[in-house]
């Protein structure tokens, strides 16, 4: 005689092993409201997002707040993501940088004096600081190696704009260099980095 079927709860079935799914595949699942997929996506993206935001903002509490904003924004707008617009990491980093920079600029707009002080601090800060952190782990070595292929002005322009969240005019001010030169160095510096890192998009 057949045993009576035991009632089963769907939720008790463990989810399949997901660790092999790429961030892009996870995002497609997230777009369907899959919170479990979002959790796995979090594991891939939270570290880079927080790291970048803190690099720009420096303040710990503010960085965590902005990183949280960015991660929730990824959830909210996953429905607008499509892989042909670039990798998930790319998308997350672009959003994180934008949010961090927005925060810096709105704070910096407050006083001119503060702004001057920031510039002075940046000017006297050794750029090695950034390079040191970049070298911290072996997988960062390629980035460091490629940064060392840039001219000093290219490297300083790219690092000040990206990690400090400066506009190119502000970079020009710090480096006491014409604005037009900085504009060009930012572009050719990034192009040289792109070619060295073998970035495709």
């Amino acid at each position: 005689m057949d045993e009576p079927a035991r009632p089963r709860r769907v939720a008790s079935v463990p989810p399949p092993e997901d660790t092999g799914r790429t961030a892009e595949v996870l995002l497609v699942a997230v777009a369907k409201g899959d919170e479990r997929a979002f959790e796995l996506l979090y594991e891939k993206l939270a570290g880079p997002i927080l790291g970048l935001v803190r690099r720009v903002l420096r303040d710990g509490a503010q960085s965590e707040e902005v990183a949280q904003e960015v991660l929730v924004e990824l959830w909210r707008t996953a429905t607008r993501y499509s892989p042909e617009r670039g990798s998930a990491m790319n998308w997350a980093m672009t959003l994180a940088h934008r949010r961090a920079v927005d925060r810096v600029r709105s704070a910096r707009a407050s006083t001119d004096r503060e702004q001057k002080a920031t510039f002075e601090a940046a000017r006297s800060r050794p750029f090695d600081e950034v390079s040191e952190a970049v070298t911290a782990r072996w997988e960062r070595q390629q980035v460091r190696k490629c940064l060392s292929n840039l001219t000093e002005l290219q490297r300083e322009s790219v690092l000040l704009a990206y990690y400090q969240g400066y506009t190119y005019r502000e970079v020009a001010e710090v480096l006491v260099t014409p604005q037009g030169t900085i504009k060009t160095r930012l572009r050719d510096g990034l192009i040289r980095l792109r070619d060295c890192l073998g970035v495709t998009a």
């Binding site: 092999g20 790429t22 570290g47 617009r85 960062r140 504009k183 890192l197």
Partner: protein
Amino acid sequence: MTSSEMHTLAGAYAVDALSEHERAQFRRHLEECESCSQEVRELRATAARLGAAVAEDPPVWLKQRVLAEVHVTRQQPPLAVPEPLEKSRRRAKVPRWALGLTAAAAVIGLALAGVFGGIALNTRSQLTTAQEQAAEQAERFAPVAELLAAPDVVAAHGASTIGGGSTVVVSRSLNKLMVLGTQLPEPPPNSIYQAWMLSASGQPRSAGLISGDGSPLIAGGLDGANRVALTVEQAGGSPTGRPSLDKLILNMAMPV
């Protein structure tokens, strides 16, 4: 600012180093400059590497806070194309001037909204939506146009074992391919077709997910791949990141 002066702003734009005003100007320029869009995508991807290089371990409580907020946050609806627009787009390509007209209509709509106040509000939001969708479509198909315009573009068609097949379009100079499902049967419930790039050495790499018949999938990084395969995978794609070989429905040579 001249077009070539504009072009030099691509680097500053990619790292958010423009003022709000210049940023808006450059975005308008981007809509008309496909090579600039490509450059910006690449430079942003480059900047992303600088970002990822300073990753740090987030505190455990951040995950709890984020997941809790996500749980009570509604997602944005996707930018779906409304029925009439979609039909006209499928029957004939929307020419550029038509997009301009849509924009012009939206501007007129905005002006009318000013005149009629609250009454026109609904119309205005519809027009704004239409304008957004037109821009979205143009953006979505820009990669297709770029691929088809490549001087070394080649295409091939392969038949699947379950009826229908796939058309594969490749440009080695752009290092990109496009996979289109053609009259493939509807995949079984909760499953989807996944495209793979195969090479003589190395693991198969996912090119992405495709529907049975419809939107093109574009993937980059051919990296020596010489075959394309399709498998049936569970919704969301192969959980192992490898093709399920028992569900292989197509394996064809990449066109050269």
